[in-house]
């Protein structure tokens, strides 16, 4: 669904055609749920928070200006909702030595992540992804599985484009260090 379609749907929903909101629910519920479950880790909480996110979006629909896609706007709401939920409980993430990260050459990382045939490597990578903090998980989930651009990621996480690029670059290094140490 492109932007004009989304805006048309939103205008009609705001005019009273509430049932049209089901198009957004059907289109994005899986993606939003996938992102939230990576952040909060339990299915029950993820489902509740997904519902909260969609409800918040519905209530604030009149504030959507169309300067980004509806999904980016929705991901931002979902991310903030999940972050608020995780603040209530203490979550600990392993720290990675900065010097160790800096010492990794870029070429090594590119070659390392290019291949996807090694099952053991993939399993280690899954474990390393689980050790990332919430922002890092959100970044790689949206970048690699939702095909979001750097600009869209910047909108979701309320960061600058440059900041997103740096963070993505560092996440790859962190994953490499977590896997190889």
């Amino acid at each position: 669904m492109n932007n004009p379609d989304e805006l048309n749907y939103i205008e009609r929903i705001l005019a009273g055609e509430t049932n049209l909101y089901s198009h957004f629910v059907n289109s994005y519920s899986n993606s939003i749920y996938s992102l939230i479950v990576r952040i909060v880790l339990t299915n029950e909480d993820a489902e509740e928070l997904t519902q909260d996110s969609f409800l918040k979006a519905f209530k604030k629909l009149d504030t959507f200006k169309g300067d980004c896609s509806f999904s980016t706007w929705l991901f931002r709401i979902a991310y903030n909702t999940a972050i608020s939920a995780t603040r209530k409980r203490k979550m600990e993430f392993p720290m990675v030595d900065e010097a160790m990260m800096e010492s990794v050459p870029d070429e090594a990382i590119e070659t390392f992540f290019e291949g996807d045939e090694n099952e053991i490597k993939l399993q280690k990578l899954e474990e390393a992804i689980a050790k990332l903090n919430v922002e890092e998980k959100t970044l790689i989930t949206l970048f690699y599985t939702e095909d979001k651009s750097v600009a869209e990621l910047a909108k979701v996480l309320d960061l600058t484009n440059e900041n997103v690029k740096v963070k993505l670059y560092r996440v790859r290094k962190k994953l490499y260090v977590l896997m190889t140490k």
Partner: protein, 126 residues
């Protein structure tokens, strides 16, 4: 830095794809949305009612204030005195009886009509 070639990360993320939300999630979600719309309508109705009541009270208060302080009008109303005779009491009694009878008949009509409509809507439902 070319991150589009990070096939391993993409594959790892896809393989750890979480289970999807429950099957009836979307329908439950829409039910919640409809409930939210109803709540919003109810809130707007209560708000408008409060607003109308407030404005009405303010107008009444303003009228009383103006009449008391700016107009020389005597607000005391003297009701005429009634001398009720025995003959008029029987007329009043008869009128009261007729009025009561009409009220009972209207009430009965409303009750039976309501019952009939309920029965009809019950039969129409598949």
């Amino acid at each position: 830095m070319n991150m589009n070639n990070d096939k391993a990360i993409i594959k790892a993320l896809q393989s750890t794809q979480s289970p999807r939300p429950s099957v009836d999630f979307n329908s439950r979600m829409m039910a919640e949305v409809y409930r939210a719309v109803e709540r919003k309508k109810k809130r707007a109705y209560i708000l408008s009612l409060c607003l109308a009541s407030g404005v009405s009270l303010a107008l009444i208060a303003m009228t009383i204030y103006l009449l008391n302080n700016y107009f020389a009008i005597n607000l005391h109303i003297h009701l005429p005195k009634f001398n009720v005779s025995d003959q008029s009491i029987s007329v009043y009694g008869f009128s009261f009886y007729i009025a009561l009878l009409i009220l009972i008949l209207i009430g009965l009509d409303h009750y039976l009509r309501h019952k009939w409509l309920m029965k009809k809507s019950g039969n129409d439902r598949p």
